[in-house]
């Protein structure tokens, strides 16, 4: 490998965002005919590094060489001209335009959508994609949108491809298909970089793996010469045991009963279809499913944020009284005396206000208390101090805006506030997304503590390994329907994975 000239050489790259150093003197080589897995925990600077290659960010320091020649990438246009194409995690597509219009965006020459459509069809045939060039993006599913993104890069003839966590939104079958395409591209002599933190994808797909930690380059090696344990060690810096506590539930009693829940989104598409289950106190109910299969709607329906078409959600009190939660908003649920906490997926967009400080964010849940016209500032302030102390939030002070904190600390603030109200039901969505391993364990511990206190926890997760180790029962959603509910102890990853893609998880053969 050393005798080849690298397609890309990044030398001594440093990028800062205000006080945060996202990349610190990183060195990286990318070769043609090779799939490189760029591995690292969330927040380790993988995306930032690749964004500098694709011209989204400009490095503060360092040099980039393409095929041995010094280049300066000032904009995505420069990147295209150098044959670099990146598929971003958040799709870069214009909703009101069609697939073809999006694909030809930014290219020179006369606008000829018919010719473009022809070329798109040819690419689709070559790689086995399905794209309708005339379809508007807002009518597409996530995986269709991703396909458009990939076609867009191929259409431009990119020979250095970067994919930022491409499998997060795909079903296993779609993932397999994508991987086959990527292997084809490698065999064509293209350089492929895939950003991921999923170990099995690294092992399955990549030829070489490069690891980043806290913005620094830790090392790279051929995938064949390493293993999951070693890579994890490199990612987190010290050996960790992938082991999560799972105490036996104590005295589980039904707490939330969902029957025949059906939800449509604003476009009239059914997101939840006749969902029924019970969540028990003192138990963690895991929700598994491909992203966008109704997890968000399910939690939001329980929390009173999502209009429901049919069905019922009952809250069962300790004394057996039942309260219907449907048709109530979060405020009236709170006023009924149901203490329901919700850690949403979008922490800074929904759970917290980024521009407010810790104390003001604590107030979000409690600002209505008391009869006075005015807000009580003392209680939230001391709550913030308690949370900072107990959960070891690293922050300059409680009057720092939360957007300045790192992802893990933001999540600690959010979870800290949500459990401060002594909930009986705790809903969490992707509670450890973007957190480093240590923060993740803090969150697992907190969730387990709540379980021990008899809280009914509903935990929506994306990492099946974690779900299988943490949850007492796992409810698998597939296309908005309940594909099955399995006990967490002894469940097989493969079975759950199948249930995610096929109702009941049984194959036709």
């Amino acid at each position: 490998m050393d005798n080849k000239i690298p397609a890309v050489t990044m030398r001594n790259i440093t990028k800062r965002f205000g006080p945060v150093v996202a990349n610190d003197k990183v060195w990286l080589n990318i070769y043609r005919g090779e799939i490189l897995a760029l591995l690292g925990e969330n927040g380790s600077g993988k995306t930032t590094l690749m964004n500098m290659l694709s011209g989204i960010y400009f490095p503060d320091e360092g040099e980039i060489q393409i095929d041995g020649k010094d280049v300066v990438i000032r904009s995505p246009k420069d990147a295209f001209d150098l044959g670099i194409g990146m598929i971003h995690q958040h799709f870069k597509l214009v909703d009101v335009l069609t697939a073809a219009e999006n694909i030809v965006l930014g290219l020179p020459g006369k606008l000829d959508l018919k010719a473009a459509a022809e070329k798109i069809r040819a690419i689709c045939e070559a790689y086995g994609f399905e794209v309708d060039p005339a379809q508007k993006i807002y009518d597409m599913s996530v995986s269709q949108k991703q396909t458009v993104e990939i076609v867009k890069v191929l259409y431009r003839g990119a020979d250095i491809l970067i994919l930022d966590e491409p499998t997060a939104v795909l079903t296993p079958q779609e993932t397999d298909k994508l991987f086959a395409v990527l292997r084809n591209m490698r065999n064509d002599g293209k350089a492929v970089v895939i950003i991921t933190h999923k170990m099995h994808e690294v092992e399955e797909l990549s030829d070489r793996v490069a690891v980043l930690r806290h913005g620094q380059f830790i090392g790279d090696m051929p995938t064949a010469q390493t293993n999951a344990q070693e890579m994890t060690n490199m990612m987190v810096g010290h050996p960790v045991v992938l082991n999560i506590d799972r105490p036996e539930p104590v005295d589980p009693k039904p707490r939330i009963e969902v029957k025949g829940l059906t939800v449509r989104n604003i476009d009239g598409i059914v997101k939840l279809d006749d969902v029924s289950f019970t969540a028990n106190s003192g138990e963690i109910l895991g929700i598994a499913g491909i992203s966008g299969c109704g997890q968000k709607e399910l939690l939001e329906a329980i929390a009173g944020l999502q209009p429901v078409e049919a069905g019922s959600i009952s809250y069962v009190g300790d004394d057996g009284t039942r309260e219907e939660l449907i048709g109530k908003d979060p405020l009236s649920i709170q006023q009924m005396g149901v203490s329901l906490s919700f850690v949403p997926e979008d922490r800074l967009g929904m759970g917290l206000v980024g521009n407010m400080d810790l104390a003001d964010n604590m107030m979000l849940r409690s600002f209505r208390s008391g009869r006075s016209m005015f807000t009580d500032r003392k209680t939230p302030h001391s709550l913030a101090e308690t949370v900072v102390r107990d959960l070891e939030v690293s922050t300059p002070s409680v009057s720092t805006p939360v957007r300045r904190l790192s992802g893990g600390n933001v999540q600690k603030v959010l979870v800290g506030r949500e459990i401060a109200s002594a909930p009986t039901v705790l809903l969490t969505a992707y509670a450890v997304r973007g957190l480093d391993i240590n923060s993740s364990y803090t969150i697992y511990d907190l969730i387990n503590q709540q379980k021990a206190k008899g809280v009914a926890v509903i935990y929506v997760g994306e990492d099946l390994d974690v779900l299988l180790e943490l949850a007492d029962r796992i409810l698998v959603l597939c296309g908005g329907k309940v594909s099955g509910i399995v006990p967490g102890r002894g469940a097989k990853k493969r079975d759950v994975g199948l249930m995610m893609t096929k109702m009941g998880g049984k194959t036709d053969e």
Binding site: R16, F17, G18, P19, F58, D60, E61, E63, D70, V71, V72, R74, D78, D81, A303, G304, L305, D329, P330, L331, S332, I333, Q334, F342, P344, D346, G349, M350, G351, L352, V353, G354, N355, M356, D360, M363, L364, R365, F367, R368, M373, F374, T375, R404
Partner: protein
């Protein structure tokens, strides 16, 4: 070496934060720079010594006790409208309809003075004026707010259009109530009976307005910073989703806040008619609804800083007017000077929020921070 291989001369990045002292130093510097430019321009146009120009600006506001009172009156009216639009802005609801809301308040007050003068005693007329103008302003803001809350109709454009509906409505009534007949103007209302004229405090014609606005200013400061409503406004402004998540009824907050916004604009209109001008014209508000947008934004929606920013604009406006009369220029010259100062202040915000890094050629490792 082709162009492609050259690093850009400079690039821009967002600042972490900048202390408020430095931030205000930047803004102050921008104002000074703008004054310098204005002085030069005025000297060029008039051929006067720039120092004389500045003296004239100062004279325009502080030259006599009458001028000071006019300054304070204009300041209080501008501040009133600015305070009124601020809660909406803080909610990220661009209420550009302050002009129309204040004008409709003027109309309501004038209507009471004209239509009730033969039927009601003075105190009852004044009471009706207060109620009706505040209500009218609230309704004028409430209509766009309702559609914003219900259908997410673009409030910037809606409130903008409402301004001109109000202007035409006032033009209509100016003809209906014209006096004398055929003039198309209303003139001073109840010039002899003084019905509906607000009482004067001692010899000070404008003191009442100033006191009322001072109260509004304190009220708004407390309301935005310490009340539950104010907190809700901040949360809705930062993120509607967060607001829904914690059970804030976003629709209700939008409508409530816009009603308050409109009501205070109506109050400004009431003061203009009842206390200051005792007449009604389609241009009575004098563009304050638009200037208020800038006052409020320049002060970062802080009612206390708004005293300063509205003072600045009124002071410059008065000063420019003085220049115009002293040096025989037409009064629109003031708008040009005001515009230039605004451009400088608006531009200066960039240097508070961003920093520029310059690169020296051939020395890529090293860069200077500005």
């Amino acid at each position: 070496m082709n162009k492609k291989n050259q690093a850009p001369l400079f690039y821009v990045s967002k600042r972490g934060s900048i202390g408020w002292v430095r931030a205000w130093a930047v803004r102050g510097g921008a104002v000074l720079l703008a004054l310098l430019v204005n002085g030069v321009i005025t000297s060029l146009v008039t051929g006067e010594n720039p120092l004389q120009v500045y003296a004239a600006i100062f004279d325009g506001s502080f030259g006599s006790s009458r001028k000071v009172w006019v300054l304070l009156q204009n300041l209080s009216m501008l501040l009133c409208v600015s305070l009124a639009v601020t809660p909406a802005f803080k909610m990220r609801c661009w209420n550009l309809g302050g002009e129309g809301q204040a004008l409709i308040g003027c109309l309501a007050a004038a209507a009471c003075m004209i239509c009730l003068r033969d039927a009601f005693p003075n105190w009852a007329i004044i009471l009706c004026m207060i109620v009706s103008s505040i209500l009218a302003g609230a309704v004028w803001a409430g209509i766009p707010a309702f559609f914003k809350a219900r259908f997410n109709t673009n409030e910037t454009l809606f409130t903008l259009m409402m301004n001109y509906v109000a202007t035409q409505l006032v033009s209509y009534y100016c003809v209906v109530w014209e006096s004398p007949k055929g003039s198309g103007q209303i003139g001073i209302i109840n010039p002899n009976t003084h019905l509906g004229w607000f009482p004067q405090i001692g010899p000070y014609k404008y003191l009442l307005n100033i006191l009322v606005v001072a109260v509004v200013c304190v009220f708004m400061y407390v309301y935005l910073n310490y009340s539950k409503h104010g907190y809700e406004i901040s949360v809705v402004g930062e993120s509607e989703r967060t607001a829904r998540y914690v059970g804030i009824k976003v629709d209700r907050v939008i409508i409530r806040t816009m009603l308050l916004s409109g009501a205070l604009c109506g109050l400004a209109g009431l003061l203009l008619v009842g206390s200051t001008n005792h007449t009604l014209t389609p241009t009575l508000v004098e563009g304050r609804g638009f200037t208020a947008v800038m006052v409020s934004w320049l002060a970062k929606f802080n009612p206390v800083w708004m005293i300063l920013t509205s003072f600045l604009l009124v002071f410059l406006g008065r000063g420019a007017g003085e220049i115009a009369t002293n040096f025989g220029l037409n009064s629109s010259f003031g708008d040009i000077l005001t515009g230039i100062i605004l451009f400088f202040i608006i531009g200066s915000e960039f240097f508070i929020n961003y920093q520029i890094h310059f690169r020296r050629s051939g020395d890529k490792e090293d860069n200077a921070h500005v």
